[in-house]
């Protein structure tokens, strides 16, 4: 039997992961007896289930985290994080949640003493500065955001705690998630989901970048697959290097629109208006978009097979199989 903790469980990936774990009832053949969903707010919309416990609290409190993790869960998905934009605006918040919070989780896991498996969600935002194209697994992390710096540093700590046998950790650098459900958010990457999601819902939307603008993305469904797959890989297969850049799809916005038209119709695609916003365009043009990911692929992680699959996953998982004609 396996006890599970998901931090950031109220976020959209956290909720999808928890729903999937409850549905599967097991991970790698081991039955799940309990799932603790931890976040700063209570998670909404999760199924009523006696295996599920919802806890709210503050990751930056060593005491709270000590109580939370001290129960000795067998698997920890540490997804909780302040997002990129928040970390740039509120310097202290980013360091408190993303650095101190993660160190608190690591330290509490160490003190629990049961060497839990731990998945840490890092980001391709950990890359930055002068970069080759494509970016190899061996590329140095010189992030150009506080968020990226915090993620890159925590990868180092996850690796160090793992090397010392205190946890069995794996850090996954996630691509931009497309199609992200819900409403647009403050992230500069928000448009990448909006220009698919809103037209499918029958809404007009403005694309603030040029059709040639590229993106490196993975669908929510594939992200959840990766989070679960990551916990089932034997430690010795991971080896010394505990961080992996996940395989994603590199595509232009024009290519995404062509795929949307193939999956739906020209009428749906015509709901997108192209109107470049120099501010967004500048941020997005600085992002790395092409990666080679042989390590993750060898370990069995998979990208979406096509843009059509990314779109269809959103239609199936969020829209009940249909879209606004």
């Amino acid at each position: 039997m396996m006890r599970v903790l998901v931090t950031g469980g109220a976020g959209f990936i956290g909720r999808k992961l928890i729903a999937r774990l409850l549905k599967d009832g097991q991970v790698g053949g081991t039955a799940i007896s309990k799932i603790t969903c931890f976040d700063v707010v209570a998670a909404q919309g999760l199924p009523a289930d006696e295996r599920l416990e919802i806890v709210t609290g503050d990751l930056s409190s060593p005491t709270q985290v000590g109580i939370l993790v001290g129960k000795g869960q067998d698997a920890i998905w540490h997804l909780a994080s302040a997002v990129s934009g928040e970390c740039e605006q509120d310097f202290d918040l980013g360091y408190r949640v993303n650095l101190t919070g993660t160190l608190n989780v690591l330290d509490a896991a160490r003190r629990a003493g049961n060497v839990p498996k731990m998945i840490f969600t890092s980001s391709v935002a950990a890359f930055g500065g002068p970069l080759p194209d494509p970016i190899p697994d061996s590329q140095i992390l010189t992030p150009q955001t506080s968020y990226g710096a915090q993620k890159a540093a925590c990868e180092l700590f996850v690796a160090d705690y793992s090397r010392k046998g205190m946890i069995d950790g794996r850090s996954l650098r996630l691509p931009t998630i497309v199609v992200r459900p819900g409403r647009p958010n403050a992230a500069a990457s928000s448009f990448a989901s909006s220009i698919v999601r809103e037209p499918l819902a029958g809404e007009q939307v403005v694309c603030p970048v040029a059709p040639e603008a590229k993106m490196y993305s993975l669908s929510p469904r594939r992200v959840v697959d990766a989070l679960i797959h990551a916990i089932t890989i034997p430690s010795e297969e991971i080896g010394q290097v505990r961080s992996l850049t996940l395989p994603g799809l590199t595509y232009s916005q024009a290519e995404m629109m062509a795929a949307l038209e193939r999956v739906t119709s020209k009428k749906v695609v015509d709901r997108v208006e192209w109107k470049a916003d120099p501010f967004v365009q500048k941020i997005v043009s600085g992002w790395p978009t092409t990666f080679t990911t042989p390590r993750a692929e060898k370990l069995g992680f998979e990208r979406d097979s096509s843009l059509e699959e990314m779109i269809q996953a959103h239609i199936d998982d969020e829209l009940g199989g249909s879209w606004a004609k």
Copy 2:
């Protein structure tokens, strides 16, 4: 006028740096009005000088560091660190001094508000795991020691605080320092200095690694040169990437002994007994020894011109120009 802080000022590099700053009286043409030497113990052997203030305290205390750095020094050399062996043995000590201590210095410097120049001493121990030969400037840091993980993480924070305009920081990855003065210490690299230093002092010494064992090294004199040079480089020349691997010399122990014989005599070299210690040999064989360092070289950092120069620097600076014949 310039006020200066040196953390770890009681260490051998700290004392050499402070002595040099007092002697030069200026850095990059700006006169030094005050040097604060901070360490956990009071520095010994520094010249009496009214510009010099010696302070003892604990870097892991935000209050103490706030008072120390809150004075708004113009230049901070943050050398203080628990060493590699200590960090492997005492996990909490390493994180407390090397991570929390450095974060405290960064945060106090930020709060001081005067955007000080800051030199952070990282280490080639930040490299580890599967490595190419030679190691390029762009190589990812996957350290295999807690010390290396802490150094690599702090490089990220120095870069982030610099990017945000809170400090003007530069991280230097130091090679193994040879010839280190004083007595042998617990570091696995201790022999590299001992096999030169002890014979020059007329003492017998055992070399615990094979003559072919390689090392990547820099003399104390060149390290002090680099620490001072680093503070004089304009921020825009450093650019986005704030970390540099310093140029060093790659050599085998046999080559060092041949150089020692050229500088002195066969009699001196015969004071070295070769007796491999499998434990030391194994650690040393895991260290990276060949680096390409075009970034640092372009910025004007220099390696020793020869092994003879490294040996002669020790004879001149530590032995008053002569050795035990």
